[in-house]
Symmetry: C2
Subunit: 531 residues, 2 copies
């Protein structure tokens, strides 16, 4: 049609729905050959259709659309795949969707069309409006291409088990390619959708997924995961907003590596240098000193740790909150506990479909929680571990295996996947943590755990400038570097406590997933900066 | 009482509510002297009270609390300043608040107590439960200190004009200092609360404010500004969530300076280097290619521009959205237009108090908007400017003064402070902008303006990989560096458009403020990295 239309790739291929093993080099080669063969076949089919224009009574009913460049507004009502059901029987609808699979046989071509997590079968079958060349064209459309189809909704019996819309199919009379996918995809959506322990059938490894994230994100599992993650953010904010918290935004570029100095990314800042904030901690506290009383913030936090584990990222989303209290930091602990109960209920009640979808590919036990949340003292946790044979001192920090074991012990004893561990040893917490006034070994600090892994760390903060400076000094923090932070408390500061939640960890652990890269849209770790 | 109590500063001062001129060196010196004098006086008062313990029948009713370290839970119900009204007449209440001002005269001490934007008068007057030393102690409490008071709510006549709670005052029988402010504050909250054109009375300049942000944030204006800003975020998210947008989080650390390469901060990333994202643009688009159809994200964006203007920050909060459409990018333009109408209505209807509060210090005309939003074509905007005597070509970019003038022209003609300028010249837009299919001089792109300043930039993006690579090449963008971005479109991509909104600009312009540093909690510019 015009210049832009010419720029669209012309090659098409038939990619049957044969199943493939995990992509090995050999398999890849074979695949490439098959794809080339398919491409040739498709080209041939197209040439054929071009060669027999006179007997093609379907001309004007199929083809490649020019690039949609907003040339004109088209007044056309589209149905959505998810809404196709027997109530629409015999109605004619337009649909825009991806070609998930394609299968042709003589005068018929069956496509599975997908939109997000919904699928429907479409049939292009030779008839009064559909010519043989049109069927051939349809069969040659590459998987993952986006098409517009017009057709009649027909009920079917028996049900189409392979599709989400099982009671209907679409008998197409028009089919137009809106955006063609290349014939050779780096991964197949079907393969990326399988449980990882599939022995017979192909799966896709983590790096291939992440390298080709735009395809990987199309799996029903990922469509669900990121909706759940968005839900966690929303529930976090809604609950705190109802409790009179004010949302704030804190700077990510900071002048000094405030929290001790290690594990911080350096940034060139005009002629000088700066750092990326490891948390919004100091700024949340300044907002409290600025009389906001209750604040929360959702934003990127950065850790320059060379940790290559299943649960560390160099950049993640922090859900942070801070709150002034009257006499005891348990006033805050209570609010955070309620926040989580509210979150777990919200997920359970509003995201059951999405959770079930994720469980299909990655089975896990339903997440259990108590109301009110279980609060254990650190020393009680240590005692439980000691009773299970772990050798550790009362004031020692929890190792990762101990943390996990304690999670299992708590689950066995209290039947909850979420609990709060309160009153950590002072020695293992940052300098700004308020010491326990009754016993100097302990501190007014807490961690919270989901399925045995830490997802929140928090504490009452020292709000007295002299005490803060003294604690910093005793822990070898350069007081000069945190001067403006310490100064914040010289103008009257209310007692306050708070905490920071790792969004991706909450999503991962709620869903019982085994790797944080499964819940970060474009994860960053020491070895991955792209895409 | 204990070790921690000793760490609390003992010096107190009487800082009367005398008004001061903008802080000059001389004034500062004078102030210091006064403060020292006051501190001495206060010390004297305290010593006196210590010297006459036998006749102090108020012992146990006032003093400095030890640092609140959560030693015990206190079961005490607190009233809030905002809730004090004649209905509580003669009831005894506890209150925690800041001492805003203090004035003593013989046997009486008047305090204005403040919590956030609410104030109430408190009276400590010699009587059966209140001794002279207790009055002296109260008078010596430094401004901005946090106190707990217990007292009776009494109605007053005439009204107390200086307070938000005008019909009542509190007759105190206990007063305890929770957290003392230093006697010499770097700025006075009253001064920071005045209109900038106050000729008689002191005001506080921008840098002093920002250097001492924790005090500056306590003004009723700032309490209102950041609640409005939080409201803008909330309204943005709620509207888009209702329209089936999914919230996503995009990485801030990126491997290549994707959008042309200029004005980007470099980060050391383990043994290599990386950059800070100038926008979530490419990632939003990848999410669209990943079948999310409609996405939004709220997060920090970074610009290494050495622009020292009233409206540039090096780090700000981006409210970004991206949306697949069927045939014409105006489908998206319509949604964004509706988003803004919904935002303006939400602010008008839910934040009238806060807006009025800000207007008291910074007067501005009420924000006007049309429903539906006004959409002008770029060339029509140029024509209006030309008719007003501006010499510029049709395809030239708008200068900042031209932008402002156009805002005034549009306001005069259409009576709206918000409008959309559509179909910008292709030459002045980024490489990924979709050219107008009907006229190659134009593009499917738009900016949106509030009070004559740009607050959103957006466009239909090129979703065809060949066309995208060709456009990048023609604009000297290194195609190799954006390979993974271009690749995203090879697997089938729907036509899509979107835009990015600068949160601080929206807040500033909605409120008619003159500097973006007034609406950024801890602003970052080429010269400011602290606090």
């Amino acid at each position: 049609m015009d210049k832009q239309a010419e720029m669209q790739p012309n090659s098409r291929t038939v990619n049957g729905n044969e199943e493939e093993k995990q992509v090995s080099k050999k398999a890849l080669k074979k695949k490439q050959k098959e794809a080339e063969k398919a491409a040739k076949k498709a080209q041939h089919a197209q040439q054929q259709s071009a060669a027999e224009p006179e007997d093609d009574y379907s001309t004007g009913r199929y083809g490649n659309l020019p690039i949609i460049q907003s040339k004109e507004r088209v007044d056309r009502c589209f149905a959505e795949v998810k809404d196709l059901n027997p109530k629409l029987k015999d109605e004619k609808v337009w649909l825009r969707a991806r070609v998930q699979t394609s299968r042709s046989k003589g005068k018929q071509c069956f496509l599975v069309l997908r939109h997000q997590k919904w699928t429907v079968q479409a049939l292009i079958c030779v008839g009064p409006n559909v010519s043989k060349p049109m069927v051939r064209f349809s069969a040659a459309i590459s998987k993952e291409s986006i098409v517009d189809v017009e057709g009649f909704v027909r009920t079917v019996d028996p049900k189409i088990e392979a599709c989400s819309q099982q009671d209907v199919e679409l008998h197409c009379e028009q089919i137009w390619v809106v955006s063609a996918a290349v014939p050779r995809l780096p991964l197949q959506v079907e393969d990326a959708s399988r449980p990882e322990d599939s022995e017979e059938l192909a799966t896709v490894n983590q790096d291939t997924r992440l390298d080709n994230r735009v395809i990987d994100l199309r799996t029903t599992t990922n469509q669900a995961v990121y909706r759940i993650e968005a839900g966690i953010c929303r529930l976090f904010r809604e609950y705190l907003t109802k409790q009179n918290f004010v949302e704030i935004h804190t700077p990510k570029i900071i002048s000094a590596a405030s929290e001790g100095g290690a594990n911080v990314f350096e940034v060139s800042y005009f002629k000088g240098s700066a750092y990326l904030a490891q948390s919004p901690q100091l700024y949340k506290q300044m907002a409290i000193c600025g009389d906001f009383d209750r604040v929360f913030t959702v934003g990127a936090v950065f850790r320059a740790e060379d940790s290559n584990t299943h649960r560390h990222l160099t950049e993640f989303v922090g859900l942070d909150m801070e709150m002034a209290f009257k006499y005891h930091y348990h006033e805050v602990l209570h609010v955070i506990g309620e926040l989580f109960v509210n979150l777990f209920k919200g997920l359970r009640d509003n995201f059951q479909d999405e959770i079930a979808t994720v469980n299909k590919q990655y089975p896990s036990e339903p997440f259990k929680f108590l109301e009110p949340s279980l609060v254990l003292e650190y020393k009680e946790g240590v005692r439980m571990l000691q009773e299970s044979g772990v050798e550790m001192g009362e004031e020692e920090d929890l190792s990762t295996p101990a943390e996990k074991l304690l999670g299992r012990l708590v689950k066995a004893k209290y039947d909850t996947d979420f609990y709060i561990l309160d009153k950590f040893p002072l020695a293992v917490r940052p300098f700004y943590t308020m010491p326990d006034p009754n016993d100097k070994r302990w501190s007014n600090s807490y961690d919270m755990f989901m399925r045995g892994e830490e997802i929140l760390s928090g504490a009452q903060r020292i709000h007295d400038p002299e005490m803060l400076a003294a604690r910093a000094k005793s822990m070898d923090v350069d007081v000069e570097k945190i001067r403006s932070y310490v100064e914040s408390f010289r103008y009257g500061a209310p007692p306050h406590a708070g905490g920071g939640i790792g969004l991706e960890r909450v999503t991962m652990l709620y869903l019982g997933l085994d790797n944080i890269r499964k819940v970060s849209l474009f994860p960053r770790d020491p070895k991955r900066l792209t895409p």
